[in-house]
Every structure is written in C-alpha cells, then in structure tokens.
Symmetry: C2
Subunit: 318 residues, 2 copies
C-alpha cells in the first residue's frame, strides 16, 4: 500500500487524538472564509477541513452549498439575497466577489444553529488558491488539508463533469506543491475513484452518513454517491471503504459504533468523525478511540482533550 | 465640560449599542493576550477592554491579577505554576517572559468558567506598548481602548505608589499618541482622580460592583476604593460618579437598574455594563438602554444586536 506522508497527521497516537477545524471554526468565525482559517490556525489547530466547488469559469472556490445561500450571503447592498438562490456553477469567480459571506442571518434556521459566530463585514468566498497561499506561508509547514469536494447534485452522473472538477482541483493542489499535505475527501465515492485515478499521490477520505441521521438544518444534503447503507448494513462500511481504496473513513458521529471504529482501525483505516460540537459527544468520541475529531468549536475540543490528559499534537520531546 | 473625542465611540446612538471586547474576547481566546486582541479586532470589534499593572521594573503590562495565577500561567516546563503565586510587583518584565498565559487549567474553577477558550502554546503577558503598537497599525484608527488600571491591594493607601503607576501608564499612552483614543478605567476612584490630575486630556471611567454580587470565581476581587455602596444607596451612584468628574459609569450588569441607567444618562454619563455573556442578560441590557456592553463573547453580542435590528457601529451612510 502506498505510504502517504500526510496520513500520520490525522492518525491518533499515544495520548494524542487529532483535532480538525470544520470549515475553519464554524462555531466561532464565518465558515469557509480566510478569516475563519486564520483564526483556526491561530488556535494551534493543524488540520483544516473545508469544501470546494467550481465556478462557471472553472475556478475552485471554498464554499459548502451549490448555490449562494440566503442565510449566509449578502448582496452588494448588504441585504440577504432574495429570490432564487443563484447556482455556483452559473456564476463566475468575479460574480462571486460581489457577495459578502462574513455572517449568518440570525432569523434563519441555519443561523440559529451558530449563535456565537462572529459577524464580519467584507468577507468573500475564497479561492482554493487563497487558502493554499496561506498555508504555504513560513511557519505553516505542519498544516494539513482535508479537502472536501462537493458533487453538484445536478451533474452527479456526468462523468465528464466529474473528471473536469477533479482535474481543476488537483491542478491547484499540485501547483501549490501541497499534494503531500492534502487529503481528497468526499461523500461521492465515484468522485473519490476519479481522484485516485488522476492523483494517485493523494489519499482518499470517504464520508458517510446514515439517511436517518441527516439533520443538518439549513445545509445542502450530503449527496452520497456510493453504497446504499442502512443501520442494518452499517457494520459493512469499513470493509467497503477499504475495498474502495480509502485511507480514511469519516462517519457522522451519531452513526458510528465501537465495533465499526475498531473494524476500520483493524483494516488500517484512519477514523475521523464529524461534526462533534457538544461536550458529551466529544467525550463519547474520545471513549470510542477515534483517530480524529472534526469540530466547529476547536477550543472546546482542545480543552476536553487536555482535561482527559490527551493532546491533539504529540508533545515535543524534551 | 471638556469634550473628549473618544467618548463618542462608547456612546449609544440611533440603532447603535456599543460592543466592548472584555480582556480581548475571554470566552474564545486567552484573556489579555495579543492573540486575543488580534482575534477581537478581526471580529470587527472596535473597543477593547483590558487590565494594566506594573512590573517591579516599572513596565506597564497587560494582565488582570496582581500575582501570576495558577489556573492561567505555565512555567518554562509547561506546568501550571506551583507553590506561592508570585506577585507581579516582585517580577521584572524579563521574568514575566518565562511564563505562558495561552490557556486555562480546565481542572480549576476559573478554567471551568470558559470551556470554549482556545488553548495556545507560547502566549506571553504583553506590555501595554505592544497593544499600542498593534492599534497604531494602519487600518486601526477607529479602535479605542478602555484601559483598566488595577490597584495593587497592598499599596492602596500609598499615594506615592499610585502616582508612579499612573505616571508610567500615562507616559506610555502619550508616547504612543493614543490619548484621544483611550479611557482611564478603574474600580479605584482615588486612582482615577490621580489620572485626571496627571492626564486631564483623557476621560475617566468609574467601575462599580455591589459586594453582594461579587462572584467572579478564580479572579482577584475588584479592589474598590471609593464610596461604600449598598443596595439601599445604589441609586446615588450616578450622581457620585458625575460629581467625581467621571464620564463613564461602568456598573456590574447584575447590579444595574432602569432608574440608575436613566439617571446616569440624564447626567451626561455613558453607561457601559460588564461582563455580559448570556443571551438573556444581553437582551436585558439592551432593554435597559445601556450605551455599551462589555462581553467575553463578542460574536454572541453581535448576533443579538443584529437580531434586534441594532448594530454596534453606525451604519455607513449611502
């Protein structure tokens, strides 16, 4: 099996459970913004999760949904967008720069999920290249990227479109010289196969969520292209990920069980659970022995780990 | 009455209630650190509250307690300090640089009050001059400082010591050219008189707290040198502050009443309440019509204000 240098950064170790900032640190700073990533790095978090989609003119940009979302995006006049939410694939990179994504609409169901998130003016949807430039700055050599590729639900069966999306993203990561610090991460297993074919130098990371637990109000549903899984067949997932060539399995934290974590680790998979925000859930994931915890509240997970005598990085040897 | 240009930044206006970051943003980032101040500014907060004390060698430094505190300070080996907590006035600025104040001990009562605070390695107690340099950077011309001077309880009646402390701090603020952007803020009313005498170009800001509501576990008590106030005589406070020449009255949020807020504002005082962190308390303070809310959670207060159609800055005119 190919050894990928980036895997060690996501793997648990003696006294170490890894901490991944979700969309930066969505509980504290606007998601998928440069301001959010800078904050997350300032907290000493070394692993960044974020979402990439492609504009009409082929620019990989960092945003979660496939349309500009009313609860997140303000137009040039500072108003929440009205009418139809424009599709990302219908907008150019230049079009996107007109929208401010620095805060949440507190009247929306989505906004109410993150009442502590700071409200900035003038934050833009960044390009993947902007984030790459940030982590290529001196002092950030130990930062790694969990790069989630969002499949456009309207083009899920379009092999050509899928190949183009992957090519654009791989090209960006290669240009930035970051293939040894990046994971290719998706709910779309077909897309991950395309990643492995085009960029065998990067490991693939397989997201899963049971349909019964899909309750992320205000977000696009996870478009899962892969095996149809139910609670009854859940125990087969680690083997399926392993057979598909995955190196990480990333289950939704409410789905996962002690048995499946153990089976995945026995198969050599790294288990990274998402998105774990509440104190008792963090505790439960630590108890399950996962490798990595993806969270909107990095400070909260740091404190939980320390309280239990753990750390998110190996302590420097003396 | 002298007009101080900085007062407008702390005063409420049409649709505007002011937001002050407490010790930076203690709920999110380590208190009174440069990392915390940078985060607070990144959130679009324009008013910074922080605490200043003086080292043995006369350097104004930014820290709350008069001793290095076990729940906050780690020694050179990364361990929480043990034995007697050294007094700040017994340490030089160089001595202080050996201590890391980038995180809280989760086992301590104080640490448990802020479970989401990020845990950094390598954060130092800053000098007042470090913060002045930060806010003198381009783009920060609209930042104002609520500079709290902590009276050393052992030297409370020492007029000479008090004059020296004030002189050192005033000198620093003048050297940085920030006298038009700084308030002198304290529980020690005698010390504020000394400030007014030495630096009449800066307004004074009077902190108060009823003894019955003093419940800030893990912190030095507020050493209040001023009138002895009880619940029965509470209504006299605005007049006392005004007679003492104060321009701000800063009551503890659990003490304050609608009548006293109104009386203070009738007297021309600005009312800034501290430290308001819970959603329902923020609501209550908005309802009381205070001028400014001092908080450990700036994002939470931003969202509350916006939800109620308010802002913390006057909207740019179109």
């Amino acid at each position: 099996m190919t050894e990928f240098p980036q895997l060690a950064a996501f793997q648990r170790g003696h006294g170490v459970i890894r901490l991944v900032g979700h969309r930066g640190a969505r509980g504290v700073m606007p998601e998928n913004t440069m301001q959010g990533f800078e904050f997350t790095l300032a907290c000493g978090v070394k692993l960044l999760e974020f979402d990439v989609a492609i504009t009409r003119d082929g620019v990989p940009v960092i945003t979660h949904n496939h349309h500009l979302t009313r609860s997140v995006a303000r137009d040039g006049s500072g108003n929440w967008i009205e009418g139809d939410e424009p599709k990302l694939s219908s907008l150019t990179w230049k079009d996107l720069a007109a929208y401010d994504v620095g805060g949440l609409d507190g009247q929306s169901a989505y906004g109410q999920r993150f009442p502590d998130q700071a409200y900035l003016n003038g934050a833009r949807i960044p390009r993947l290249s902007d984030l790459c430039a940030l982590i290529n700055r001196p002092g950030h050599g130990d930062i790694h990227l969990m790069l989630e590729i969002k499949s456009d639900p309207d083009r899920l069966k379009n092999t050509q479109a899928r190949a183009e999306i992957v090519a654009a993203i791989v090209d960006e990561v290669r240009t930035a010289g970051l293939t040894k610090r990046t994971l290719m991460h998706s709910f779309d297993w077909d897309l991950l196969q395309e990643c492995a074919a085009q960029a065998p130098e990067m490991p693939t990371s397989f997201l899963t969520q049971l349909p019964e637990n899909d309750a992320d109000v205000g977000e696009d549903e996870a478009t899962q292209a892969g095996p149809v899984i139910t609670r009854d067949s859940y125990h087969t997932l680690p083997d399926l990920v392993s057979q598909a060539g995955g190196r990480l399995w990333c289950p939704y934290f409410l789905d996962v069980t002690a048995d499946t974590v153990m089976r995945a680790q026995d198969l050599g998979l790294i288990v990274a659970v998402w998105t774990v925000n509440e104190a008792n859930d963090i505790d439960r994931m630590i108890d399950l022995g996962v490798d990595a915890i993806v969270t909107d509240y990095p400070g909260r997970v740091q404190r939980k780990l320390l309280d239990r005598g753990l750390d998110w990085l190996p302590r420097a040897c003396c």
